[in-house]
Symmetry: D2
Subunit: 222 residues, 4 copies
Amino acid sequence: MYQPVREFYESKGFGGRKGFGSRPAILVIDLARAWIDEGSPLGSRNLEPVVENTAVVLDAARAKNVPIFFTVMAFDKAGVETVGPVGKKVYNRVKDRSFTRGTPMVEIDPRLNRRPDEVIIEKPRGSAFWESPLLSYLIGRDVDTVIVTGCSTSGCVRSTSESAHNLNFHAIVAAEAVGDRHPLAHEANLTDIDLRFADVTPVADVVKYLSGLSADGFAKAG
Amino acid sequence: MYQPVREFYESKGFGGRKGFGSRPAILVIDLARAWIDEGSPLGSRNLEPVVENTAVVLDAARAKNVPIFFTVMAFDKAGVETVGPVGKKVYNRVKDRSFTRGTPMVEIDPRLNRRPDEVIIEKPRGSAFWESPLLSYLIGRDVDTVIVTGCSTSGCVRSTSESAHNLNFHAIVAAEAVGDRHPLAHEANLTDIDLRFADVTPVADVVKYLSGLSADGFAKAG
Amino acid sequence: MYQPVREFYESKGFGGRKGFGSRPAILVIDLARAWIDEGSPLGSRNLEPVVENTAVVLDAARAKNVPIFFTVMAFDKAGVETVGPVGKKVYNRVKDRSFTRGTPMVEIDPRLNRRPDEVIIEKPRGSAFWESPLLSYLIGRDVDTVIVTGCSTSGCVRSTSESAHNLNFHAIVAAEAVGDRHPLAHEANLTDIDLRFADVTPVADVVKYLSGLSADGFAKAG
Amino acid sequence: MYQPVREFYESKGFGGRKGFGSRPAILVIDLARAWIDEGSPLGSRNLEPVVENTAVVLDAARAKNVPIFFTVMAFDKAGVETVGPVGKKVYNRVKDRSFTRGTPMVEIDPRLNRRPDEVIIEKPRGSAFWESPLLSYLIGRDVDTVIVTGCSTSGCVRSTSESAHNLNFHAIVAAEAVGDRHPLAHEANLTDIDLRFADVTPVADVVKYLSGLSADGFAKAG
């Protein structure tokens, strides 16, 4: 029997709390048909609650004009058949090209009611920050807190949380608003994320924080 | 009972093989006292085999003049007390400042016999590529294959493997030459790495590949 | 009277030659209507020779199956009205939104006959490498030499050349295939580029190099 | 006779003003012996006023506890003899290895009175942001305004200003606190910087802005 990973890592100094900062943005990771539909090659059947809980977070964010960004893994038609080692691990095995820009598979789930001024970030890899323009959008909006929802916990959610941590943002993962194809991968990675990168925080606490912001999306001075 | 993570993810198209390319480099991740010594706040007691297996890989690499890079997490004295959220997760909780440049805690393990021309990469985060000059060293040496050894599987090894994948290198993890503070974190992350980022490959196969290179460290034309 | 910039800088050790490497790619920077048409807010009237000379380079490259990438500055419709300081310098002053993805202003000049497998890189800033997926395309194709054409010398051409240099590629600028709105900005920046970042090389020499490659775009072993 | 570059570019929509934001940091670029001493291979003889004017900016910044960062181009001893094309342009031509970490040539000019808590950023290329940890220091300190001083205008100052612009900071260059080996390179690049990347602003105005900050270095709410 092993001591649990969390307990052991906490004894080594991991797992501190960052808390919320004063200016959040919401990142909704890859909630498009290619990942949500069971019929899609990469799709998961169990992400309905993730979509619903993300919608709850978005409602609270929109009420305070908090910046919202949606990501999707999408490539230019000429670029989707990725050459080189990166394609051999996953992409080339997906025969129906789920990732082509402008196709239905990469449309954001309509239940999330994306508004025209909520930017879609096309990202070529797991992290929403990798080779994407996300970072400068955040800096230009004075964001110091990144709240992550979407999928998958063991892939793009973890990678995005790590990048947000690396960049020194208050990285927050909305616990019930992230999910994975597989429950064990979800659990193991949620633990790693909380110990190393981002505070895994109940949706209720995220909503409470958002609801306390000023009308333009800043924390009120104490 | 769940279907195993690996089996399920493979059924979705993950876990392809990249194979070795034609020009490797070795990355030895954080095999310094701060991570290896049990007395260190972040140290693990069980990394002896990792050091030994890394030495085996290094012997084979040096015999063929393959480029070798050591990483260490080390900061300038003025920078080690990291300000902001990043410090709250881990660094600020480490009271004795294990990460100061030039201190014994960040010296590479002497059993690895680092040679003067083997570059040390000081990295501020998990991935050896994050905010470090590693990438341009690799490009300047025509490297297309990155072989990762060291620790920790759930932290810097995974992050480095992901970056190498993102950048489109043939990313290889030498299986018995990587380790973690905790065996369950090791196993779960080794699975994720193999499914998503890098081929987890036995040390014996890595050594065989290295031994087949030309004297200047390139794969011979077939 | 001052000593010329070039002469003085060369006396200080700048301006060495990199030469061509063994595996080139061509980058065609921003040869779309928004930059070429005089009627466009940002357009230049004098870039006809740049387009013609780029076409000459492309013919030689295609004959040897050398990878070709076109860049364009284009944004998602929701993202084009850039918030924050970056918009105040240039973008917000361009009232007709020249940069929206999918509009005629950002189409590649038809005289360059882009083929369907030649990837278009949408870049949000000057350098073709900044927040774009270009780099991993190059690494996945084993590229070690980046040949730059297009516009503007004082903007995107210089920035792209600097990034290619920073990353340790053989950076080459095809001299008559780059241009600028203003001849003095062109001259001053071409000098800086040659001293600091990339070998400014006559188109004839670029074509000669390309013509000597193997049919799959690699330099033949000497 | 040509229309001046500035006038022509402004007619095309370039050269807008960003203004100061609400939270500045100062970047002092490469004011170390290797660049200042005339006896150094890369040194300039005419940078005395740059050092003096930088000291004026630093006095005003320290009075308000504004974060200050010094950069220096310095490499690990094993890394200084850069392999690959990057070395051929400049570094390899500098025979006495001016860039080795810990040597007198890379010490910050003592007249700038660096304090122990003012972080030194070792950077391998021109931009202070390239492959360096600078960015996360800025984000962790809520910085939205980057004020640049130091040398050289046509190299590291321009590159740093461009990166700060790309990242969506309020980028400001303190006009009399930056300089170059050559006056024409200085002038041409200062014009490009002001048109494209950063507001070139008199030191007196920078000092006035800094003096108006609160004691912890934030602009007071209007």
